[in-house]
């Protein structure tokens, strides 16, 4: 179905991004997968076409766009190209909103120009070896010492953790009161700070071109002027931003599943078995018809959610529904599209195998499907 969210400028920007992905990203995916990360210079190139600065205010060299539609276009095009740029995605769709919302004027002038021109890329470190879904249980601490905080702890699974110039670290700054959710703060740790150690680039099942790291903080002295937003108020900040992060994951799920459908269509039209094209079997037609239908439904949901995010009406439960549906759909669609490739689908040289491996994590990160269901069920007044 025709999507009606986009105007002429959106289409022109999409054409630029598509051309960029086809030339500068897709051909390099195997090389970057082998390296376990994308080269840092890539983010300078994406900045040149304006991707990094889309939402950065004009005063700091960005375009000052107050809409998620352009971000959606960027990550759709990455997905359609059967590529993934995890570090950029987390930077733009998950981390930047914290800075846009909570940075004070001094912090803005320190960091925003670098965000716009690609000199600064940021990650966010919430998850710890012992705490994922249960965020309030984190044990990383930051203790006030004069004008600084002394940060201690370990984080893991941090997307972009190797490339990042800045890392927002969620740490406990106080333990008063009964509410476990109180007393968490956001500290911006900079590359090169003493005691900030990047651990291994973790070996993953999929998403091999994005660096995912362990980060260690050993007596890191973080100046108080690097605290983002109100001290102790991080939990509310984290939850208020989750809707956009979950929508971002959904958009990628949908775009990569769409890419899988297109790959399967191309493949079954060419491949001959028993003297016929695979496309000629009724089973193939029905499987692909199911995939196309499910994708249409997921797209309708996502498109509504993008518009709702822009108007500020996307609730946490809404976003959880979208992520649950879109990522489960992605899994089903990509699995069936791989099946139609037969043994070739299992071979790394066929992009469908990459999409299959990449898809597995969308039901885990940004909140697992089970966590989505518990968020949704809380809205049902059970």
């Amino acid at each position: 179905m025709e999507r009606n969210l986009f105007d002429e400028q959106h289409d022109a920007f999409r054409a630029t991004v598509r051309q960029f992905m086809a030339k500068e990203v897709a051909p390099h995916m195997p090389e970057w997968e082998a390296a376990g990360m994308v080269p840092r210079e890539l983010f300078k190139k994406t900045a040149q076409i304006g991707i990094n600065g889309l939402q950065v205010p004009e005063a700091f060299g960005g375009a000052g766009v107050d809409s998620f539609l352009l971000n959606a276009i960027v990550f759709e095009e990455i997905g359609y190209a059967a590529a993934s740029l995890g570090g950029l995605q987390v930077h733009l769709n998950t981390v930047l909103p914290y800075f846009l919302e909570y940075a004070n004027d001094e912090q803005k002038s320190r960091w925003f120009p670098g965000f716009a021109d690609g000199d600064l890329i940021a990650s966010i470190a919430m998850t710890e070896p012992g705490t994922g879904s249960d965020l309030a249980g984190m044990t990383t601490t930051a203790v006030r010492d004069g004008d600084d905080y002394i940060l201690n702890g370990a984080k893991t699974f941090i997307t972009g953790g190797i490339n990042a110039d800045l890392v927002i670290v969620v740490a406990r700054t106080s333990r008063d009161g009964d509410n476990r959710r109180d007393g968490l703060s956001l500290l911006v740790v900079e590359a090169g700070m003493e005691g900030f150690v990047r651990g291994r680039n973790l070996e993953k099942l999929g998403l091999k071109s994005s660096d995912t790291a362990e980060l260690l903080f050993d007596q890191v002295r973080v100046p108080a002027r690097n605290v983002l937003g109100a001290e102790g108020g991080a939990f509310a900040m984290l939850t208020s931003n989750l809707a956009q992060e979950r929508l971002s994951i959904s958009i990628t799920a949908q775009a990569t599943a769409t890419a899988a459908l297109n790959l399967a269509i191309d493949y079954v039209r060419e491949r001959k078995v028993f003297g016929r094209r695979v496309a000629d079997f009724q089973n193939t037609k029905f499987v692909l018809a199911d995939c196309a239908t499910e994708l249409e439904a997921a797209q309708a949901l996502i498109d509504r959610a993008i518009l709702a995010l822009d108007t500020g009406t996307l609730t946490p439960a809404d976003a959880a529904k979208v992520k649950l549906f879109a990522t489960e759909t992605q899994a089903r669609v990509i699995d069936r599209c791989l099946q139609l490739h037969g043994g070739y689908g299992y071979m790394r040289e066929y992009p469908i195998s990459r999409l299959y491996a990449d898809a597995r994590v969308t039901r885990i990160f940004g909140g697992t499907s089970e966590v989505m269901k518990s968020v949704i069920s809380k809205s049902l007044a059970l």
Binding site: Q9, F13, T16, Q19, G50, I51, V65
Partner: protein, 261 residues
């Protein structure tokens, strides 16, 4: 004084899509998406670089083509060109390279120019002679197929890389120059470029505006006629030679039979 650069660009069917022909054997533009010819992006890029190096320059992008050809102009504007000129007229349907060069020459004269830049060929027609014909019609020097160029003090210099030699060329402006795909990658339109392009002037002209009669252009007045167009046959499965001791001979025989050697 402002250096006036005109870049001639063509709106072509997307080369990655299938090609279709209309009943009159012209390209069916309804059937496939169009875009700015990739080879013309190199010319736009060179124009931008020359303008950036100059004290004062203005880039006009010019196309002759149907309504949708405005897309090609908008893309060039979003890359950084200053204004656009679109010659559009129903009578232009089916015009050949002689007619098109006439329209371009008149339009270039109409708008005023010091340097005209073109790509090395269109990605659809692929004739590659338009820049030469255009220079002839304008009565100015031509430097074609350059892989490097620069403009200084009213003189354009450049290098043409041939099979056996590289030539260093120079011409006094006004002149017509075409550039190859070796001249340097074209920039991508940036988001800000796209937003800025919205506000740049895009002027439409018809044949009478540039002083051309209908009987000088169009399919009827083309110097060549397409008699027939046949779709390229589907690729057939290749020949498989099983090596049972005679493989080399069989390969040689295959090559000889097909007159490949």
């Amino acid at each position: 004084m402002t250096m006036r650069i005109v870049v001639c660009v063509k709106y072509v069917p997307d080369a990655t899509g299938d090609r279709y022909f209309a009943d009159d054997l012209t390209t069916d533009r309804e059937a496939v998406d169009g875009l700015l010819s990739e080879l013309d992006e190199y010319a736009v890029e060179q124009a931008l670089q020359i303008a950036e190096a100059a004290d004062d320059a203005e880039i006009t992008v010019l196309t002759v083509g149907p309504e949708d050809a405005k897309d090609a102009l908008r893309k060039a504007l979003s890359m950084g060109a200053d204004k656009a000129l679109h010659v559009e007229d129903d009578a232009l349907h089916g015009t050949d390279v002689l007619g098109t060069s006439l329209v371009l020459a008149k339009a270039v004269e109409h708008t005023g120019y010091d340097l005209v830049l073109c790509g090395m060929a269109s990605t659809d027609g692929g004739m590659g002679v338009l820049p030469a014909i255009l220079a002839e019609r304008l009565g100015v020097p031509q430097m074609t197929l350059l892989s490097e160029l620069a403009v200084q003090d009213g003189v354009v210099t450049g290098r043409r890389d041939g099979d056996s030699a590289s030539e260093e060329l120079r011409a006094v402006l006004p002149a017509v120059v075409s550039v190859t795909d070796q001249s340097g990658e074209a920039r991508y339109p940036s988001f800000k470029g796209i937003m800025a392009a919205k506000k740049k002037p895009l002027e439409s002209l018809d044949l009478s505006d540039v002083g051309i009669e209908e009987d000088q252009v169009g399919l009827e007045n083309a110097w060549t006629t397409v008699l027939e167009a046949t779709k390229r046959p589907a690729r057939t499965a290749g020949t498989i030679v099983n090596d049972e001791g005679e493989g080399g001979k069989q390969l040689a025989a295959y090559l000889a039979d097909g007159r490949f050697v």
